[in-house]
Amino acid sequence: MAEGAPETGPETGPGTVAGAGRAVRRSPLGGFAPVAGERVRMAETPFLAQVDVRADPLGEAAAGLAAALGTPLPVRPGTYTGPVTGYPPCSVFWLGPDKWLVVGAEGGTPQEGGPPGGGAAAGGSGPPGGSGTLGGGAAAGGSGPSGGSGAPGESGLAARLRAAAGDGHAAVTDVSAQRTVIRLAGPAARDVLAHGCPLDLHPRVFGPGTCARSTLARADVLLAAGEDEEFQIFVRSSFAAYLWAWLLDAATEYLR
């Protein structure tokens, strides 16, 4: 059994990717068919690189990250920056006064950096986090049996951000698989969200460039508004199937 794992299950579709000769990856909503109505569209954006960054916004580490990203970490609550280019293309979401989520196009191990087999760009225009080009994979992971500062199999984006943070007090943690992203779009997208989210989603209040952590149905989410009535919903992986089912139900009247 040393020759890699067998490809298990009936796993095809956007959420399942066989790396080059490597084990099969499966995203939390792999196998869930995207929804394409006139008023509501819904699809998972699997396998994004997601990195949790904790740092003093005025500290040395934040400065290093800003320099590397080519843009300051957003400090205005409820906003995000990006996608920024010139670095691994990524977006930076404000999560708290010392906490950000950096999202790049492709997560996974540095060793696994080949182009995704139909993974990240499932339908529609790219999310703020994903410009469609490959973000991860270039840098060495820095993880190994000796236990470096990274984790085994962590994304290249995490390793690069950790390097950029330097020696200042910061925590750069790969959380690519911690949450998945559901992209919800269409003229009724806000209506669907309003069935379960207490935020004021009026376009003038929650327009492109804004994001917020809140609750959607009974799940905690990070909600980000993009252009053209498109939203990214970051949800904990274990809640993804529940939230998907809930969204489908809430969208019923907009899909008829």
């Binding site: 794992a5 299950g9 499966r26 004021d200 274990s238 809930w246 139900d249």
Partner: protein
């Protein structure tokens, strides 16, 4: 038939068929069940709950206390008011006496909820509400108008006019007509100076609906008004369509509205008067009768007497007379009735009895005659009653507004408003249409102005706080109270008459639904009750549907009369949501069935489902409990899984365990403050078991701590406490120790984790991870290694929760299914579930936090004194461990129990006692069983228990209290299997 040939807001071109109490009847679109019943000549609709008296239709709205019905088809719904059920084809209903019947089958309809935000919420689309909405929306504010009726207009719908639905008046035109509440001479049928009210309302609502930031919600009752201007409304979307309701559409929708400002234009309810027989079918509120005549073109009787304390009933009398009802007399309790009204009705040949009252409504089953105070008896089938008007202050009071008694109106009116709340129109005590229109417009303008110069800057978008919230509802002189009209004439003309005295007040009803009479009130006050709240609870007056709608003011006034005080001193009872009944289905919304609560699953969940795992809930997680094979029951499957682990190798999906990365220069010191044992001495590459206490010294959570690097740890938590432990860490860091340089990050779902346990585990792992040096010397117990397993980057921890040689293999969660398959595809590994895990760990005496503990258990109670560091100055909970209570020798200790009958499985929760035969109560409990299993390793049943002074009782014989007698058990060490740990360390 009592339906007029023309007029009303019903569509005579369509006929709706329905059945009531077994009779097949018809009505028209625009009817309510009540109006259709009246049109069909049905007078008796329900039976009263206590006395079994016949009851008819008393009102024309949600204040109905009599006509409580059960819908049977298309789907059973209990206890609706016939006056609010819109008629539809195929409706089957029956009148109730008391309780209704819940459906015995699942409701196929959808229910949902929606969150909404607005600058101004206007409650009520009557004249004041529509005016307010138009004024508020003029500057672009986000406005929601919610109204309970199917079409806008409120009281205007009941005024004369007879305009068919859909006809629109020119926007801006001012409606004509009289609310019938006014002292000013009203305009009645045929005397309209402007467009009839309903036409104006339709035009105004249409104009509002065209504005992009305005939403008009018909059939939507605001039922609750809460802190911060959070209001809950229920929209009835499809019930009026009957069987034709589309399945995709939610039948009811709960609106959760956050409004920066609220205008309450909730109108007023007409009040009854207590006299003998005032509950008989045929006794009806005067305004309701007027509505039936004008809006539904229904004559609720042929010969009528009017009993009033104000001018309102005169307009009703004239409209009914115009429609063909013979009005025999108006008994006006006031010594000096309004002269102009008096003249008007006299022109129609109607006698006015100044200072007159109705002493009794007589009849068997319904009104057949009316006896006035002067002893005259009128042969009549209809008695119109108007005892004055109660402003609808329910929402206003729910959110903290106070009321005061207004002498002019003889009713309680809004006094001090809550922040950012306006009251307009009849809800504020105004009585003329002209005033309500003007008052609404002023309230709407004030609301918009308070938003800061118009609401078009909805960029703020959020309900107001700070200055905005503190602004209150308008200037003091505008707060509540009855204004004087521009001409200086008093507008309110209420007259204090609550009951018509009689020796026997046992049919003087004050709450018709609850069958509460003046006699009941007297019994309550006679028993010494002084508070109107106590009287309410004693008599039930004002409960159920009523909630003070028709019994309000009346009950306090009668209580006041009995106590010899003014009604203002008695006051009102508390107003609590909901204003009208709300179905449980609406409250549940889509949180039912599979969506009732989130179901959390691991990356390997699909495999577990495919292999027929039986799941158990661990918090919101679904975890495989066991994997039955063909023909196996749970006991057999669990025994097989346990034996596989003890004899070979088993694999378990333990991805649900909480995982928190703790990073920073002060991480070690931080963990030392939270765990009872030392973490700072842990070397990178090693793992240590840890226990956390709350400040009270009670065990809160446990798990392993992995030191990844000098400044980096990975703490694992129990499945159920993952979020709580992270919260706990953040709370201490943010609130008590902000100077510590530590960041905590949850990585629970970043990783998929497989526990591989059993004597063959090392062999299996070596085969999957050829680059890993897995010998005991190279990879000892309580250490970890990063490597590749089955070609996947992995972190392998050598830890054991089963007492066997065991590993936990962590890979990125996307690789979880692949890892799981790779482990099982070796053909040497048996998947096992949580039940086998429980048995295996219990044989080793490992407690499960939350099962073997309950928040009253210290580490020492668990036998973990060795976990309590003596070297640390402090850790959270330490000080509590030397309190007198926590050092008692008779505290309950975790011990093992071995039933003398090795096949006896003692149920978890069983009480333990000292005596074989129970003495007389009270019997002292020694403790209880926390875990109980059939042990594969032990080959017998065993249990863990919390037993008073348990460690001093090891070897003792105590008794488990079971149904059918006490079972002897031996107290033992909790570690029953491999106490030396040779297997684990192998």
């Amino acid at each position: 038939m009592t339906r007029a040939a023309a007029g009303g807001r019903i569509d005579r071109s369509r006929v709706l068929r329905f059945r009531f109490d077994g009779r097949d009847l018809t009505g028209h679109p625009g009817d309510t069940l009540a109006s259709a019943l009246l049109a069909a000549g049905v007078r008796r609709v329900a039976t009263s709950v206590r006395f079994g008296r016949p009851r008819g239709i008393f009102s024309a709205g949600p204040e109905e206390p009599n006509a409580i019905v059960q819908i049977e088809e298309p789907f059973p719904e209990p206890m609706l008011t016939a006056t609010t059920v819109e008629l539809y084809d195929g409706l089957v209903a029956r009148g109730l006496s008391g309780r209704g019947r819940l459906a015995d089958r699942p409701d196929p309809a959808r229910y949902d909820a929606v969150h909404a935000h607005c600058d101004v919420l206007v409650v009520g689309a009557g004249p004041a509400g529509l005016s307010a909405a138009r004024a508020a929306a003029a500057d672009g504010a986000r406005v929601i108008v919610a109204d309970e009726q199917p079409e806008p207009g409120g009281v205007l719908l009941g005024l004369p006019g007879g305009v068919p639905p859909g006809s629109l008046a020119p926007p801006g035109a001012v409606p004509s007509g009289s609310l019938g509440l006014s002292g000013a001479l009203p305009l009645v049928s045929g005397e309209s100076a402007g467009p009839p009210g309903a036409e104006w309302a339709a035009a105004t609502a249409a104009e509002l609906s065209r504005l992009p930031e305005v939403r008009v919600l018909p059939r939507t009752t605001v039922v609750g008004h809460y802190d911060g201007n959070h209001l809950v409304a229920v929209e009835r979307r499809t019930a009026h369509l009957g069987a034709a309701a589309p399945a995709w559409m939610a039948r009811e929708r709960v609106w959760r509205i956050r409004a920066r400002r609220v205008v309450l234009a909730t109108g007023a309810h007409e009040r009854p008067i207590a006299f003998a027989g005032n509950d008989l079918p045929g006794v009806m509120l005067a305004g309701a009768a007027r509505t039936y005549a004008n809006r539904y073109a229904v004559l609720p009787g042929r010969r009528a007497v009017v009993f009033t304390t104000d001018d309102a009933a005169y307009a009703a009398a004239l409209d009914l007379a115009g429609a063909g009802v013979r009005i025999l007399a108006v008994a006006d309790a006031r010594p000096g009735p309004n002269g102009r009204w008096r003249e008007r009705v006299r022109e129609h040949g109607i006698e006015v009895l100044a200072g007159g009252v109705v002493a009794e409504a007589r009849g068997t089953g319904e009104v057949t005659s009316v006896v006035t105070g002067d002893g005259r008896e009128f042969e009549a089938d209809l008695l119109l009653v108007s005892g004055g008007w109660n402003p609808v202050v329910h929402l206003f009071c729910q959110v903290g507004g106070t009321v005061r008694f207004d002498d002019g109106l003889q009713a309680f009116v809004p006094d001090t408003p809550p922040p950012a709340v306006e009251v307009a129109g009849a809800a504020r005590g105004l009585t003329s249409l002209h005033d309500c229109l003007a008052d609404g417009a002023a309230a709407g303008t004030r609301a918009a102005e308070a938003l800061g110069g118009g609401g078009s800057r909805a960029g703020t978008g959020r309900p107001g706080t700070g200055r905005d919230r503190q602004a209150g509802g308008g200037s003091p002189e505008r707060r509540g109270g009855v204004r004087r009209a521009a001409d200086g004439a008093p507008q309110a003309n209420g007259h204090a008459l609550w009951l018509v005295p009689a020796d026997d007040c046992s049919t003087h009803f004050v709450d018709l639904q609850r069958d509460v009479t003046v006699a009941d009130i007297r019994r309550a006050t006679g028993a010494g009750l002084r508070s109107v709240e106590h009287v309410k609870r004693h008599t039930t007056a004002g409960t159920a549907h009523d909630q003070g709608k028709t019994s309000g003011t009346l009950v306090p006034a009668i209580v006041a009369g009995e106590l010899g005080v003014h009604v203002r001193e008695v006051g009102v009872t508390s107003f609590r949501p909901p204003y009208t009944p709300v179905s449980f289905a609406a409250l549940a919304g889509r949180d039912r069935g599979a969506l009732h609560d989130p179901v959390r699953v691991t990356p390997m969940h699909g495999w577990h489902v495919e292999r027929g795992a039986v799941f158990e809930n661990a918090g919101q997680w679904k975890r495989p409990r066991y994997y039955p094979r063909e023909g196996e029951d749970m006991a057999a499957a669990v025994l097989r899984e346990c034996r596989a682990v003890r004899g070979g190798a088993g694999a378990m999906d333990v991805s649900t365990l909480g995982k928190i990365e703790v990073r920073g220069p002060d991480a070690a010191g931080f963990l030392d403050r939270l765990y009872t044992n030392l973490m700072g001495t842990l070397r990178p590459g090693s793992i240590r078991y840890g226990v956390m206490c709350r400040a009270d010294g009670m065990v809160f959570d446990d798990g392993t701590v992995i030191r990844l690097a000098e400044d980096r740890f990975l703490a694992t938590t129990t499945t159920g406490n993952a979020a709580a432990v992270l919260d706990w860490m953040e709370e201490w860091l943010q609130t008590e120790w902000p100077s510590l340089r530590v960041y905590c990050t949850s990585v629970t779902e970043q990783w998929a984790t497989v526990a591989l346990a059993g004597p063959a585990a090392r062999d299996v792992l070596s085969g999957l991870a050829p680059r890993l040096a897995a010998d005991a010397a190279d990879f000892p117990f309580m250490t970890w290694r990063d490597t590749e397993v089955a070609g996947m980057p992995a972190r392998v921890c050598r830890i054991s929760f089963s007492g066997e040689l065991a590993y936990e293999i962590n890979v990125g969660a996307w690789h979880g299914p692949a890892l799981w398959s790779a482990v099982l595809d070796t053909g040497r590994v048996t998947p096992y579930g949580t039940e086998a895990m429980h048995v295996l760990r219990a044989e080793k005496g490992y407690p499960i936090i939350g099962q073997d503990t309950d928040g009253t258990v210290t580490p020492a109670d668990l036998g973990m004194e060795w976990m309590i560091s003596k070297k640390k100055a402090d850790f959270v909970g330490r000080r509590s461990l030397t309190r007198a209570d926590t050092v008692r020798r008779d505290r309950r200790h975790l011990v093992g129990l071995l039933p003398e009958d090795p096949g006896l499985l003692i149920p978890e929760g069983t009480q333990l006692v000292e005596h074989e035969r129970l003495p007389a109560p009270p019997v002292r409990s020694l403790g209880h069983v926390t875990s109980s299993y059939l042990g594969a390793g032990l080959g017998r049943t065993f249990a863990l228990a919390l037993v008073s002074g348990g460690r001093d009782r090891i070897g003792d014989r105590i008794f488990a209290v079971l149904d059918g007698g006490q079972a002897p058990v031996a107290v033992a060490s909790p570690v029953l299997y491999d106490p030396e740990g040779a297997r684990r360390d192998g």
